[in-house]
Symmetry: C2
């Protein structure tokens, strides 16, 4: 039998009615002849309640106990989903992480999956079971303790099962109906994509499109798992949602697949830094040691042996970065002053078509210039161009770029 | 190190504050030098919520999935208790049933404990751990599925751990401060007992005193586990609560230890039954096959080859019993009619002293007679005399017997 993995997030199993609706979707796939592995999250709100109890009990908690407590929400959903399927006369049973066993390393609360033996579940499929309901987000460490995979870990669980069982597809049911060319709340012309390449999805995920967890996309790309994102709140056809797949499976595509943005950026500039070899290493080494994730970096042309060094970082790391920069003020770096600008935003265009088509950057800069938007920092990768702009222009920039690259029209 | 088992019921761990208070009690015992095994129930209300979800999802549920869902409440408490103890600088960790592993048979939702290997937990005690927090009520079947032990199963878990680890004592913390000579709500003079024999506790438990689950007392008696019942809501000395122990450890005791009662009894009389060999076997065989738990039985003196057969049963089994009796109306039993009296109650006196002292029954009957209370049915065992009386006299009977046997005074 071909195998299908279906993952239901917290809002899709928020109560018994929604669990029933999700189970009906599973029933449709079983009727098509699939052996189905269902990955479930905790009912929405439950994990937050459990995390709250742990935080209140022990601010610097033992992550092993955190995992033992927090993993219980998924176990409840898994049992209830199995019972719901049984009520529909579909042979099903639940599996907790340790029963599979989903083996992880010992990095509690952010464990990495090491192995998913297929024997136990396949034996049951062989005996006539049609659906294995697996509690997402959890596994078992080499020491026999319960581990969790970190926030969004149920997506990763789903993709890992799809890889281990060589599933035909991994369907991620969520509260949006797919991946869009940009955020529909900002740009009314945003269009749902039928397909998107793994690399594009990765760039979009890391740029703040919160549909899929980055790790799950990486894993899907590595094992070439066909990943589909679709809504659990609508009747779904085989073509619904967005398929995240290898770029070779996308016949025609726009040069730019989507426009992403992030409000949570801050720009910092070290003015009049001594321009000597090793200066950049000192600055960014210090920031890295302080746990600051620097994103974009620009160094001005040197003048009279001094230069300005500008970089961007997540908004919640500003005080950490300022402290780190203060600590090297008196060293050979010898900068004049540090200027922090919190009123910035990052806007990016992403698309695998950029690899083969030049001129995307030039077009992007021209579009922004026509709108009177000043670009503060630029970074590029093979399939992405990001700019930092004043935050007040963020929405205008997204809309203008969406129009200019014809993203409201399919390729 | 000597080992102590401490069990906290649902109301004793109902929220984070109560878990902290329970943890402080554990800390007191750790400070005395004990290695402590703590057995926890789910936070009160949690198990009912989970059971409600299962019932609503699947009225005739798969008990294996019921167990997987319902056991999750204890896992949460176990993790939170371990974290609370760690915050108090007491080395502690949680254990779920399958991690111990607490091995049971496969009778899901009412499994029996088969083995508790001590190796895993003792290894950790050897490494400096002071408290093992174990999720009560749950175990693992030979098939690797989660089992639960039935309602009140955490008491049974606690006693089984005390037996397996040869614990000095098993303390059951609950919302009452011990075992009383009778129900204080009915009899103001009720006195807390310092000690009670296993056999007495067993009779009291099965007669409706809901302090301890019958199975846990049986288990304690078989393995001679010293069992103490005490309140988690008061400061406790070493002498607090009630010790349930072997009768040889009770130096002096009243002939009667306590007076118990049960409102949930119904009396049935088959009038004018043919008095022939095999008639009783047919009647009570039929009731047994119908799942009716007959308690007391009385057969009148035979007159002209016919007799009356009276018996008592739990109130919720009346319709089942009436149906069963209707099915044999036309057989050789050939009774005239069936009379059901729901306005009855059972009152019992219990005490191991009865074994060596005669006249208890006579005294009991005289006390009731003096109060004008008619006895409808009598049964006796070695350490118990029970009578069925009109329900309206129940409280009067309990109070009169409590007075007559001087239960308000210690021996």
């Amino acid at each position: 039998m071909p195998t299908l993995v279906m993952k239901f997030g917290g809002t899709s199993v928020a109560n018994l009615d929604r669990i029933r609706r999700a189970a009906k979707r599973v029933g449709v796939e079983v009727a098509k002849g699939y052996d189905v592995i269902v990955i479930v999250s905790a009912m929405s709100g439950k994990t937050n309640e459990l995390v709250g109890w742990v935080d209140e009990t022990s601010p610097l908690y033992d992550a092993r106990e955190y995992d033992a407590v927090v993993s219980s929400g998924e176990n409840v959903t898994a049992g209830l989903m199995a019972l719901t399927l049984q009520e529909m006369d579909i042979p099903a049973r639940s599996w907790q992480g340790w029963q599979v066993p989903l083996k992880t390393n010992s990095a509690h609360s952010q464990a990495r999956i090491e192995e998913i033996p297929t024997h136990n579940i396949n034996t049951k499929f062989g005996e006539g079971m049609k659906v294995a309901v697996v509690a997402g987000f959890q596994g078992i460490s080499p020491e026999g303790r319960i581990t969790t995979l970190g926030r969004g870990g149920s997506d990763t669980t789903a993709v890992a099962f799809a890889a281990a069982f060589d599933a035909e597809r991994c369907d991620i049911y969520t509260d949006v109906d797919g991946v869009y060319t940009t955020d529909p709340r900002i740009c009314a012309k945003a269009r749902k994509l039928d397909r998107i390449a793994f690399e594009e999805m990765l760039e979009l995920a890391s740029l703040g499109a919160k549909v899929l967890q980055t790790r799950s996309v990486e894993l899907a790309m590595r094992y070439n798992v066909k990943l589909r994102v679709l809504s659990s709140f609508e009747e779904q056809s085989d073509e619904a949602g967005t398929l995240v797949c290898d770029e070779e499976e996308i016949m025609e595509s726009n040069v730019v697949a989507g426009v992403a943005y992030s409000r949570d950026e801050v720009q910092m500039t070290l003015r009049s830094v001594a321009d000597r070899p090793g200066v950049a290493a000192t600055i960014f080494g210090t920031l890295s040691n302080a746990g600051v994730n620097v994103d974009m970096i620009v160094q001005d042309i040197s003048e009279e042996g001094r230069t300005n060094m500008t970089f961007s970082l997540p908004a919640d790391q500003v005080s950490r970065a300022e402290k780190a920069m203060a600590s090297i003020k008196g060293t050979e770096i010898n900068y004049q002053n540090l200027v922090t600008d919190t009123e910035v935003a990052k806007v990016s265009v992403v698309g695998i078509g950029m690899r083969s088509q030049s001129g995307v950057a030039a077009k992007m800069f021209k579009v922004l210039s026509n709108e009177g938007i000043n670009i503060k920092v630029i970074t590029t990768s093979e399939i992405k161009i990001s700019v930092l702009v004043d935050r007040k222009y963020m929405e205008l920039a997204v809309q203008a770029l969406h129009d200019a690259f014809d993203l409201d029209k399919a390729a």
